[in-house]
Amino acid sequence: MTGNVWVVAEQWRGHISEITYETLALGREVADGLGVPLTAVLAGCGIKDLAQTLGCADSVLYVDHPLLAEPIPELCAEALAQLMQARKPCALLVPLTNVSLGIGALVSIRLGNTAVNSCHDIKIVDGKLQAICVMYGGKIEVVVEPAGELAILGVGPGARPADKGRSERSPSIEEATVTLEDSRVRLKRYIDPEAGDVDLTKQDVLVAVGRGIQSRDNITLAEELAKALGGAVAGSRPVIDQGWLPLSRQVGKSGLAVKPKLYVALGISGAPEHIEGMKDAKLIVAVNSDARAPIFNVAHYGIVGDVLETLPLLTEAIEARKTASHHA
């Protein structure tokens, strides 16, 4: 393959996203493996100073344009497609977050190409790239080979440690220009989350419930366990969508990223979107009726069983032990 490996340097609200460094670390390996330079591509408005932090790449190509002030997918994609047509990279790695989702697809269709989703690793086999992707809610791994001279790969969170993508080196920095037209999509304002009754990010213990909790009434069982452990109740997306817990209790891609000392995942299958928000917890314990649930791939301890049966027993055991040690 010829041409550089490009990594989209995701920036949002004036900051480079953590996943940018993770993706740069992966991009570095791919570029070195192919023996080509690594370029970070930065698009935004007034973002030139951010380029200095992208020294893991050999060079930074940035576009400063008022229409790129906010991440409107079709404008970002149009800018990238113009740069790629002119400079012909061999691969484009796009971080997959709520900021950048859709950009890969929109770039690919502009260039008559295709974009691969959910990569967590990239291999080079006989000089060609192979993307290793996680599909079907984390249950299946697929190895794919993009056809043609350009691979557009959406990279999920956690592909590499972010620290591997940070560097003190100064990359060469170049400004590029693009021609953009007003979008029919306009950001009016950001709505920052209202503080909930509990700040999940400050809790040492979280008892998180998923679809397996089955009903709003059963949340009480989780609250009792949380009380016994001195923690708070959190939820995965389906529980929040059902309105069983408020938005301030959501852990995952669209919610909060938490790092408690103990994370108890109850009836949570462990879709990548949820794992993203809790994988850094110090101790992860999972209870799920499905022995193949992906949550067991990140948990330290697991119990295969009915959550509604196990949950009260666990609470009871903890309360009994607390009482016993109190009397001892």
């Binding site: 079709e74 079907y136 950001l187 196990t310």
Partner: protein
């Protein structure tokens, strides 16, 4: 006003997924297909908009096992017309599925003009691309995704949409119609419809069938699946065995030893 909803069936991951003998696809024989979750939310959002503002709601789906149930359920919930694209091989890629949707939307009488095209933001089997942005591009329409609420500011002209960002942040957007929007979640959970109503819809409504259009490159996808397997990473939880009381007791002991309560 006309709202068009695009639906796709996906494997139910609650069931065990088996790999086909060639090691490159799921074994279709053992799959149970269900409506893609975010597509269900797109349908719900469309039903809410129709209830508030009137107009017509059309649902377009790709043929797959159980899709008739999904379409009659949509009809029972309030869709005015349900259309199914038939005659394609199983296992279209997302890029191909988007192309089929876009071609059928342009060709089939009564699908255009549509003020709003709603679909799910992402399906669990989207390996190459996403339906909403690809269809938007092919139809020359604007796209916005990861939405949790859509409301009409000026029906037929503008929608207000709430998009999810990381960390619980939401973005309030204005999108000029017509547009293609990818729903993450409707503002309310998808409604339940009694089986009796679905049966009644099966008797009173019909599914319009339309043949699949010609696919680019003779239907050859632009990515090649080299291998498909169960995701079984090296790291795995230590499983606590025994009956629920034994397992809970053991876990309690582990937590106590670590001083977690």
């Amino acid at each position: 006003m006309h709202i068009l909803v695009l639906l796709k069936m996906v494997p139910d991951v609650v069931e065990d997924l088996e790999i086909a003998p060639d090691g490159k696809a799921l074994d279709l024989e053992y799959l149970r297909m269900i409506l893609s979750e975010s597509d269900d939310h797109a349908l719900e959002q469309a039903l809410l908009l129709k209830e508030r503002h009137g107009g017509k709601l059309t649902v377009l789906a790709l043929d797959a096992p159980e899709v008739d149930d999904a379409l009659f359920t949509a009809a029972a919930k309030g869709a005015d017309r349900v259309v199914k694209v038939v005659g394609m091989d199983a296992g279209l890629t997302t890029r191909q599925a988007a192309s089929v949707f876009a071609q059928v939307i342009r060709r089939e009488t009564g699908l255009l003009p549509a003020d709003l095209v709603l679909t799910g933001v992402q399906a669990i089997d989207d390996l190459d691309g996403l339906i909403a942005p690809l269809v938007a591009h092919e139809l020359g329409l604007p796209y916005l995704g990861i939405l949790t609420r859509v409301s009409f500011d000026a029906p037929g002209q503008l929608v207000q949409a709430i998009k999810e960002y990381p960390g619980g942040v939401r973005g309030e957007f204005e999108v000029t119609l017509p547009a293609v929007l990818g729903m993450q979640a409707a503002e309310k959970p998808p409604r339940y419809v009694p089986v009796a109503k679905v049966r009644a819809a099966m008797k009173s409504q019909k599914i319009d069938c339309t043949p699949v259009p010609t696919l680019a490159d003779g239907g050859r996808p632009a990515i090649e699946v080299v291998e498909m397997k169960r995701n079984e990473p090296a790291g795995h939880a230590e499983m606590l065995e025994g009956d629920p009381a034994q397992a809970s007791g053991e876990l309690c002991g582990i937590l106590a030893e670590r001083g977690l309560f």
